[in-house]
């Protein structure tokens, strides 16, 4: 149900805030210089296509779609024999997923308050506190578990919760400086104390740390994870990860060694990347999964690193080393622990509790759905099934056996879905229910990241394309990096990974009456995973085939343009990201500053995962290409 009351409340609050423009304050109090400023902003993103997020219950591609389930009890599989001819007892029915399709008008409807207090105690000591408050008006077709008779386990798998995320059982927050509820959050993106003495700067407290020249492509930018709960990565592109990069408690020490070289070091409490919750607008984890986040086992771990940056002649150089827990984490099957019998199968709940499966209509209903979503999630549906069987022996009590090939897997899966869908209650109906949720655990792994970079500024004829052209090349190497196994087995993929970025930046003036156009071109190459960190061996899976994987690494190209208008009151931006396997993201944008207090930003997000005959599930845009939208942000600053 659309929550108009909440939207009205948010708009009323905003209107009240706008009528009080005198919040700005600066001065001296008890010998401490202070300044306080901030903004209040309404953020909307209106859908421009009818597609819904397929990873959410109400966007599931199989909602209302009748699917044939052709299960079979394969004798050879059951007995573990390789029989010369397949012998099986077929059991078939049809099933129609009972999800209620959504028809959203908005992908995003939030109100934001930010306020920054800066204190200067002395010439050496100062402090900054930035408060961020977000209210989600939830102007969406929200998932209602009662409408599908769901009783899925886990705090986040009932009605949507937009901000809590800490624990599978309890909700809550991972960051000690955050308070969150189902539609609000308040945190401190900055809360730190600075001590500066000559060339030494020490910053202690909650802070973001970012390194490197590449924008959006994170080669050196490895210190912090991303918080994708708000507008995911689809907000105003020229802000990069300003709102997403996760701050966490740290001590950072910078020392200017001489005029050319600076040493920068940090030690920071580990905070993982936060993905959008199930059934929230930008969720990217299929909501048939239940994620058990194991952060509590590493929540006292510390990431650390240093960077040395300087010049050698005309060349800029930087060297980086970071020892960290990869904030993205990896996932694999885990026991569901949910003792809920399948309809007509008394006692099955106790067995299922020892497997990664949970009986609930919000799970997967058919082999077709299983393989469709396995492909979308860059997973191997066949081996995923086999690992449930082999890694969780209790599943064999339900006659599950390892299978050979996708056809056998479909047969066994459909049998499961038929039996757990209430077949035995009414074997002659021909219409079955479903489904089975899959439980996965998210774990975190330490890794070493080594990096180096070089920069050079070209000088050419004044006004030429080569004059003041800045080139940067950055490369990082992570030995023995841990990736999500595409079969969700207990053995992770562990491989070395190289990540490189080539960055070219240029101001070019095309006319005397318009300011210069700022242009950035970037090329990123990743040897083992895509931009979202998914291993390339999981690419190319579809409903009809398991992943073929792709060779040649992942390559992405970025072209970003910024064209200010005279006076800078208006600025037009264009940001393009091209995945060379046929994925395209285009964001044209307009930024307008009509007066000192107001900022208005408009942008259009267009995603296309099938440029030039792209193969299915091989590029990153196929994961988000349902999300075309028009974004509007209106901010009043004080």
């Amino acid at each position: 149900m659309k929550n108009n009351n909440r939207l009205n409340w948010a708009l009323a609050t905003t209107a009240m805030a706008l009528s009080s423009p005198s919040w700005s304050a600066s001065g001296e109090l008890l010998g401490v210089d202070y300044s306080l400023s901030g903004l209040i902003r309404v953020e909307l993103a209106a859908k421009t296509v009818s597609d819904e997020n397929p990873y959410n219950q109400r966007g599931n591609l199989f909602n209302g779609k009748e699917v044939e389930r052709n299960g079979g009890l394969n004798v050879g599989t059951l007995l573990g024999l390789n029989l010369p001819i397949p012998i099986s007892a077929p059991i078939s029915d049809t099933a129609t997923r009972n999800g209620v399709p959504a028809d959203n008008d908005f992908n995003h409807s939030q109100v934001r308050l930010e306020s920054t207090l800066q204190l200067k105690f002395s010439d050496n000591w100062s402090a900054t506190a930035k408060l961020r408050g977000i209210f989600d008006a939830a102007e969406y077709d929200e998932f209602d578990p009662d409408s599908v008779n769901s009783n899925a386990a886990g705090y986040l798998y009932g009605e949507p919760n937009y901000f809590e995320y800490d624990d599978f059982e309890n909700g809550g927050e991972q960051n000690p400086l955050e308070i969150a509820g189902d539609n609000y959050m308040v945190d401190f993106p900055s809360l730190y104390l600075d001590y500066q003495n000559g060339p030494l700067l020490v910053r202690a407290g909650n802070q973001q740390i970012a390194w490197g020249q590449a924008l959006f492509f994170r080669v050196f930018d490895v210190a912090n994870g991303l918080d994708l709960r708000r507008h995911s990565i689809f907000d105003f592109a020229s802000e990069e990860y300003a709102d997403e990069r996760i701050a966490s408690p740290a001590i950072r020490v910078s020392y200017q060694l001489n005029s050319n070289w600076e040493l920068d070091m940090f030690a920071q409490s580990f905070q993982p990347t936060i993905y959008g919750n199930p059934n929230t607008p930008y969720n990217v984890i299929p909501s048939q999964f239940t994620v058990h986040d194991r952060y509590s086992s590493v929540d006292e771990e510390v990431n650390s690193g240093f960077r040395l940056k300087g010049f050698l002649g005309d060349f800029g150089l930087q060297f980086m080393y970071t020892n960290r827990y990869n904030p993205d984490g990896v996932v694999r099957w885990t026991k569901s622990g949910v003792n809920r019998d399948a309809p007509g199968l008394p006692g099955s709940g106790a067995i299922l509790a020892e497997t990664p499966l949970e009986v609930d209509p919000t799970g997967v209903w058919s082999a077709e759905e299983w393989f469709t979503y396995a492909g979308m999630a860059r997973l191997d549906g066949t081996e995923g099934l086999n690992n449930i069987v082999t890694d969780f022996p209790a599943s064999q009590l339900l006659l599950a056996r390892p299978v050979q090939g996708i056809d056998a897997a479909k047969e066994e899966l459909d049998l499961f879905f038929i039996l757990t869908g209430g077949f035995l209650n009414n074997p002659l109906s021909g219409q079955g229910g479903g489904g089975l949720r899959g439980h996965i655990e998210r774990t975190y792994h330490r890794e070493d990241v080594f990096g180096t970079g070089i920069s050079y500024v070209f000088s050419g004829e004044p006004g030429s394309w080569t004059d003041q052209l800045i080139l940067n090349f950055e490369v990082s190497f992570t030995p023995d990096k841990t990736f999500t196994p595409i079969d969700l087995g207990q053995e992770y993929i562990v491989e070395d990974e190289y990540v490189t970025a080539l960055v070219l930046e240029k101001y070019q003036r095309f006319s005397r009456s318009f300011p210069a156009t700022y242009m950035v071109f970037q090329w990123m190459h990743r040897s083992e995973s895509d931009l979202f960190g998914r291993h390339l061996s999981g690419m190319g899976g579809t409903v009809n085939n398991t992943p073929k994987g792709v060779d040649g690494g992942w390559n992405g190209l970025v072209l970003a343009l910024q064209q200010p208008f005279p006076g800078l009151v208006w600025r037009a931006d264009l940001s393009v990201l091209y995945d060379t396997r046929g994925g395209l993201f285009v964001q044209p944008a307009l930024k307008w500053k009509p007066s000192g207090n107001w900022n208005i930003e408009m942008f259009y997000n267009h995603m296309d995962g099938y440029v030039d005959g792209a193969n299915e599930n091989e590029n990153i845009m196929q994961t988000v290409d349902w999300a075309d939208e028009f974004g509007l942000r209106v901010a009043y600053q004080f």
Binding site: S35, D123, D221, I470, L568, K593, F638
Partner: protein, 458 residues
């Protein structure tokens, strides 16, 4: 009854300026101004009396304390840059007259003027067009060419040292007005300058390890929220054929990035009429401009003294004029006996919107008194005029070592073609507790390193 017999009448100075104007041979009409100052401790010997007093110049029609407005501006039309004249005549600008300052040591930082005398005659251009000493080392401070004979010599001095201190931190408030005279945008920013060469107060003429640099300069914004924490650091090479290195901290990026630096004709923030290129009328490396030409000499009314708003605790200035009464700073002007106008072209910026800039220098101190720019069609484009002064008024003063602080006080930047005005003023302090500082080495660490930019960001 007594009679004062003037040695030279007004026509004399006009004739003399016309005679020498096309073949510039240094400041002074009766004798070289710098020779007069060295010999007599006063530049008065270089000029006839009528150029030393507005009362004499106007035949008693105007005197110190009078206000120039639309009703009497015709009396001094010849003494004003064309845009300033238009602002008084048509836009309600008023200028209050004061006596001409006779002590040249009060027209710039004391140490700078003293070094200009001490180092007179020691500067030359090397093969690359950079100012060096006789033995080819970077310049050692003060005006390199006090007796400048060419436009490039005047600009060389201005480019070498903007604020005339070894290190300066200015706390600045900016007001951007629309054509209706309303303040549409307001900013607070800090501006830092630090000289690693040609130092007069900080230890060592050259800062060891930094001899190949001319200047470290940064600008950062503390308000409003949309730009707070944004900062840019320019590192100027001593070689004036090279563009500075430009680093920026953009709060959204949370890190310092290097930026191309050749685009210097755009405002840094929305609504502003100020470009990097406008700084001190010489915001770009000397040889990225060219065709320097002296085009005019003559007396001028300019705000070279009395710009400090000593009556205000935070040094903020009062305004007047324009549709809302807030377009112009209240400004005191005095008769400058000799100004020299120099034209220059942006030869290193083929697509710059500016075709020519004209800067008026005070012949006594080579301070820039005003600037107008013309677009590529030759139409008047933008205008700048600033006010300077000693920060001393009776028993109120701000000290810079042994002497009262001297600096700029406020600036008008007016876009003639759009009618938009940007006003900036130097304050005692801006939000965040950033206070004016001068000749303090710590300015470098606080405002001019990568770490400093990171600290100023958020």
């Amino acid at each position: 009854m007594s009679f004062h017999i003037r040695r030279f009448d007004r026509q004399f100075s006009r004739r003399e300026f016309l005679r020498v104007g096309s073949g510039f041979v240094g400041a002074g009409l009766l004798m070289p101004a710098w020779a007069a100052m060295e010999k007599h401790g006063d530049y008065a010997a270089a000029y006839p009396e009528e150029l030393l007093s507005i009362e004499q110049y106007t035949g008693g029609k105007l005197k110190a304390g009078d206000v120039i407005d639309a009703g009497n501006v015709e009396l001094v039309k010849d003494l004003l840059e064309p845009v300033k004249y238009m602002q008084v005549k048509d836009m309600g600008r008023r200028l209050r007259l004061r006596e001409t300052t006779r002590d040249v040591m009060k027209l710039s930082p004391w140490e700078y003027m003293e070094a200009s005398f001490r180092h007179r005659g020691q500067a030359r251009f090397d093969d690359n067009g950079n100012v060096v000493t006789a033995d080819g080392k970077p310049w050692i401070g003060g005006l390199p060419f006090p007796d400048a004979k060419t436009g490039v010599e005047l600009f060389a001095g201005l480019t070498l040292s903007w604020g005339r201190h070894d290190a300066s931190f200015y706390a600045i408030r900016e007001y951007d007005l629309n054509r209706d005279g309303k303040v549409s945008y307001g900013y607070e920013n800090g501006w830092a300058e630090y000289a690693p060469t040609g130092r007069l107060v900080l230890p060592g003429v050259y800062w060891k390890g930094h001899e190949d640099k001319l200047r470290y300069q940064s600008v950062f914004f503390t308000a409003p929220d949309s730009v707070r924490g944004t900062s840019f650091l320019n590192i100027w090479h001593y070689d004036q054929n090279k563009f500075p290195e430009l680093y920026g901290y953009i709060p959204d990026f949370k890190r310092i990035r290097r930026f191309p630096t050749d685009q210097r004709f755009e405002p840094l923030v929305p609504g502003s009429s100020l470009y990097l290129s406008d700084a001190w009328a010489a915001g770009d490396p000397l040889h990225t401009w060219g065709d320097y030409k002296v085009v005019w000499r003559g007396p001028m009314l300019a705000a070279v003294s009395g710009g400090w708003a000593s009556q205000s605790e935070d040094w903020s200035h009062n305004t007047h004029g324009g549709p809302q009464g807030e377009t112009f700073w209240d400004t005191d002007v005095e008769l400058v006996p000799e100004a020299i106008a120099v034209d220059a072209k942006p030869t290193g910026f083929p697509r710059a919107p500016v075709g020519v800039k004209r800067v008026w220098f005070d012949a006594r101190t080579q301070l820039p008194l005003g600037m107008v720019t013309f677009d590529r069609r030759g139409d008047l484009f933008r205008s700048f005029d600033g006010a300077y002064g000693l920060y001393e008024d009776g028993d109120r003063r701000v000290m810079d070592g042994k002497h009262p602080y001297w600096s700029w006080c406020h600036v008008h930047a007016f876009d003639v073609q759009t009618g938009k005005m940007t006003r900036i003023e130097q304050l005692a302090e801006i939000s965040g507790g950033h206070r004016m500082r001068v000749n303090d080495h710590d300015i470098y660490n606080r405002y001019l390193t990568n770490g400093a930019l990171r600290r100023l960001g958020n």
